[in-house]
Structures are given as C-alpha cells and as structure tokens.
Symmetry: C2
Subunit: 139 residues, 2 copies
DNA sequence: GCTATCACTTGCATATTGCAAGTGACTCGA
DNA sequence: TCGAGTCACTTGCAATATGCAAGTGATAGC
C-alpha cells in the first residue's frame, strides 16, 4: 500500500491521510462525533449511503489505528457500541474547520448558523463542548 | 459518482470530501501551501510518489472546483504555474489542524516544533502568515 | 534542425468500491 | 422452546480508480 506506515520523520499530513484520506472515514467520525450515532445500523442509515462492506472495513481500520473502540451494549447484548477514543475525539478541530470551509465557500452546504457563529467567536469552547457532547453519548 | 453535487442543504463534510476526500488531493494542496511548489514536475517529485495520471486528474479537479488556477510561467513559457485561489488558501486551517493532530497522536510524524508551538499559541497569526507566504510564491 | 524538458496521456495489471444477497449470533414474543 | 426478526457483519461479482511504464506534443536552448 502506498505511503503506509514504516518510515520515521514522515509528513504529518501524509500520515493522517493514510488513516482518514478517503471518501468515507471522516463521515463515520462525523456520525460518531456530531450525530450521536454509535451503532453500525445507525451509521449505515446515514443519507450518504456507505456500503456495508466499506463501513465494516472502515470501523476495523479506525479501531486498528486507535481512533474508535468497540464495546458490547449493556442495554442490548446483541448490539455493539462504537465510541471515539481520545485520539478520535481530537479530530474535532479538523472537522470543525472543514465545516467552516465548506460553509464559507459553497452555498448549498448546510451548517447551523449558531454553530458557525460559535466557531468564529470562540472556537476553543465549541470544540470542548463538541467533545464533551460526544463523550456523553458513550453508553 | 457517489455523493457528487446536486442536492442542496447537503452536509458540509460530505461536500468537502467530494472535493478532497482521497489519498492525494490534500498532499497536492500541501505542496502548494507549505512547500512553495507550483509546477507539475515539482509536485510529481514529492516523496510520496503520486502517479502522473493521478496528479493530472487531481489538478484538473481542483481547478474545476476553484481551489487552484493555472497560469503560464512568465519566466519560462513552457512551464505552467499552479496557484491556490482564495478558496484553496482557505484550507490552511484544516491543514494546520491535521498537522497538529498527527503530531500530537503519532510519534514519528515530523512537524517543526516552532510550527507546533506557534499553532498552539497564536493559531490565527500562523494561519495568516502561512497564507501570506503561499501568496508570495505566486509568480 | 537536434536534443532536452515539461506537462501531460495512454494502456494495461491490480486494488478498491458499490451493490445485492447471504450468514450466524442473539433476542423477543407466543 | 420455537420461529421470526434484528443486528453486525461477510461474500461474490461487476464497475471504477489507482499504480506503473511508456509514449506524445509543445516549447526552449543550442
């Protein structure tokens, strides 16, 4: 695989792209971070329509890289709960900046105005709250 | 193509990923933003080793989406200069956050310490300077 | 002209995705 | 306890994208 792990002193952007540089991974993280989704069935129902095998592969890869963890759902034994780890939650600033970029440069992309205002005025607090909210969803 | 333009009110993250959600696009933008590269031959020489057809395709796509522009090099007529547009330069915060994330969570990724210190202390200024520096490279 | 450089394009093998249809473990109500 | 349903996947296969090597056409300098 091109640019996979191995060498040291590697470009941080290249490294990051080896983990989430594809069409779907950040959407999975978005579902976990902003939409309170934590089950496979919830993520597969997202409007973008990720294929089931691709979702399974991405969850596996994210777990392997330590961005998410798998747990049995205490309320329903047959369900599996996916959670963002601290490493995964630390992507919040990246996602926030992506949202800001799309919203600023492409009409037709819909981010809540309150979110954008908050991002402009006190980004740090917004990020802290986003992470706190995502942690709450952890069951 | 899955999730390509069309509908309105679309998720900003999905929209962004339709533009740069792949293994190579952000590396091209990195070369233009941080490394002062503006020629095809410079980008193809980057250590990650993008394939020539893929680079050509990405440059075409980025131009179509308005993130970069093409110009004849005034100093050397046979060369073409690629520049980030304002929309492309506006991705600076995204790239900076990606660098911070990789550096914080994966030893072995090498970002200059001065850069990271700057990013932590006054991010806004760092971003302004990054953009200013990238504009300077415009010939 | 002749050769070199530059920005691509082309052809083809391989890898990744998308789609539809399973599969096995578990749960719930009768 | 039995059958039906749900859930988290897996499998097979066609379509698409990528990687690699080689080629092409337009300058540029000699």
């Amino acid at each position: 695989m091109a640019g996979e792990d191995g060498e040291v002193g590697r470009c941080p952007i290249d490294h990051a792209l080896a983990i989430f540089g594809d069409r779907w991974t950040l959407l999975v993280i978005r579902d976990l971070m902003f939409r309170g989704k934590c089950h496979y069935s919830e993520m597969i129902a997202s409007p973008e329509g990720i294929a089931s095998n691709v979702l399974a592969a991405r969850l596996k890869k994210l777990e392997a890289h330590g961005l998410i963890s798998r747990h049995a759902d205490p309320e329903n034994r047959k369900q599996i709960v996916y959670r963002l780890t601290d490493k995964g939650l630390a992507l919040a600033p990246v996602l926030v900046e992506i949202v800001r970029w799309s919203s600023a440069h492409d009409p037709g992309t819909a981010a809540p105005k309150a979110f954008l205002r908050r991002a402009a005025r006190d980004r740090e607090a917004l990020i802290r709250e986003t992470i706190a909210a995502a942690k709450k969803t952890r069951r």
